[in-house]
């Protein structure tokens, strides 16, 4: 029996085009043996939720540097829940003030990775927290 690979959608919502981080994460997760789908730039929360559902991912990694996280991230969480994807982890990476982290978590974001996080920590987090599927 082969173990199902962890599937992750790396998403870039909002107008910002700085995708260095998103692309590094996508490659690091792939190198760690995960299946990664990168949405490309300027996806609306609706597009991201639809892609997550279609690709049947275990986690959505949202890269955001523009300061629009408080508007966009809760909406992504909500849309995933509306689509019955309660088990799908929403992770946020980018420029997020520490003060905003508790509020994002309250709204259903599983974890926020601040600048300076190593890609290995993110890999470990996913391995530890993605719920195994039958």
């Amino acid at each position: 029996m082969t173990e199902r690979k962890i599937r992750v959608l790396v998403a870039k919502p909002g107008l910002d085009g700085h995708d260095r981080g998103a692309k590094i994460i996508a490659r690091a997760l792939r190198d760690a043996g995960m299946e990664v789908i990168y949405t490309g730039l300027r996806q609306t929360p609706e597009m991201i939720a639809a892609a997550a559902l279609q690709e049947d991912v275990d986690a959505v990694g949202v890269s955001i540097l523009s300061g629009a996280h408080n508007t966009l991230c809760p909406r992504i969480v909500q849309l995933l829940q509306e689509r019955g994807m309660d088990d799908c982890l929403v992770l946020v990476g980018g420029i997020v003030p520490k003060e905003d982290v508790p509020r994002l978590k309250e709204m259903g974001v599983a974890e926020v990775f601040l600048p300076g996080t190593s890609t290995e920590d993110i890999v470990t987090y996913l391995r530890d927290n993605v719920r195994p599927r039958a």
Binding site: S66, G67, P115
Partner: protein, 560 residues
Amino acid sequence: MSEVKEITSPEQAAAERWEEETLAPVLQKRPERKQRFETVSLDAVERLYTPADVHDIDFDEDTAFPGEFPYTRGIHPTGYRGKLWTMRQFAGFGTPEETNARFKYLMAQGQTGLSVAYDLPTLMGYDADAMLSEGEVGKCGVAVSSLADMETLFDGIPLEGVTVSQTINAPASVLLAMYLVVAEKQGADWRKISGTLQNDILKEYIAQKEWIYPIRPAMKLVVDTFEFCTRHVPKYNPISVSGYHIREAGSTAMQELAFTLRDGIEYVQWGVDAGLDVDEFVPRISFFFNAHNDFFEEIAKYRAARRIWSRTMRERFNAKDPRTLQLRFHTQTAGVSLTVQQPLNNIVRVAIQALAGVLGGTQSLHTDAYDEALALPTDQAALIALRTQQIIAEETGVVNTVDPLGGSYFLESLTKKMEDGALDYFAKIDAMGGMVFAVEKGFPQREIQESAYQYQKAVERGEQTIVGVNKYQIENEQSKIDILVIDESVRGHQIARLEEARARRDDGAVGNALEKLKRAAQSGDNTMPATIEAVRAYATLGEVCDALRDVYGLYEEPAF
């Protein structure tokens, strides 16, 4: 090392003697700290540089005197003894009123030029009330949706007397039009106003990714501004060819140099193909480089840039005017090098990076504020950033002589290495048919991604140190600095202003101007006159860009 032993020069023989007699016994007793020493670009650095490393560099041909071809040592014979660089802090946040106040504050503190940061909706050609603008208005810069916002932004700032740099790319021609109309309303003479439009669309596809239209029509818009400015705004720099964003996206120093200058060549070629005279428009092309952590690598990059540009303009384009041959550039310290951890350390990083820019002969400089890894700068952080430049200029003495590091074996050798590496990239890109083709193939994009990934891995292996991040961390560090928070109410305020501007204007005049713009875009005529007419009638940024979107379509990035 070559297989065949070449005839040893006296310089080489001397170096070899030192290696045997003095170095070897020391290395036996105490090995060096690392096997390989490398720059922040992961490029190897040798233990020692001697005359043997510069034997292929000719002083008269390659280094020469400042103010003379190939300008390696600077474009001014007097360096900073005649005129200091322009201290130009990039600023913009929230509403035009707020940014106008920050501009006035910075000028009162001795800043000598202005630089506008626009928010993401503006950069993407959307009005504040567009659906996609939600959550983004005023966040990363100032929100400008129509001429009314531009009028407020420069209220009480006479545009004939100050040089203003505008960081705007995909919709650059529209913001230029607004700027020119504001200047005109102030009674300024377009022939006297000076400043810079970033307007470098190639690096958007390569690195920063804030595009609107497909590449070729976007290049046409750039050429339109060249043509228009050459004729009507002759002291204005219609483009700032930017390596900054290429570097921030993760390139090495040498890739930054190579791709930026090759972009520059592409713009010159497009201008020439449109019938412009090289010696008429190229003198107004300016450049913009990053100043990263590796001190000597950066200085070498700037010196190599001047040398390559002057030679290329002469050899490829047969340029004659010295101003065509002189590469002028702005420098900004590396935002990507700033850390959230122990943020006050960033003041030190910025100071050293800024010093590299100065020793490299920059024409203008932006020093990042220490809190920029967290948010846009507070007044206090912006002030320290400006003071850093003033301390370099007026306390350190580095401005007293021209190109003080010229002649250093290490620096001259590194300058040559940068130049050779960049020329190798030129050959590759030329073979693809030029930069537009290379970008369409995703070549520079992939090269940069690869470098960014390698750097990240080097940091994670601890081979590249980031103080406070992967070494000398403080456990449970509490961030105590105040940061600037942009209120969500900015969008409401801007939407109200937009509605007011729309209510006041003559919709018929707007419609006519936009139709005229579409016709110009379809026929291939210069789009600037119709763009100016549209913004003068208070057509909004979104409306003008929509007219062009209708004609040109939208760019979709292929998966690279």
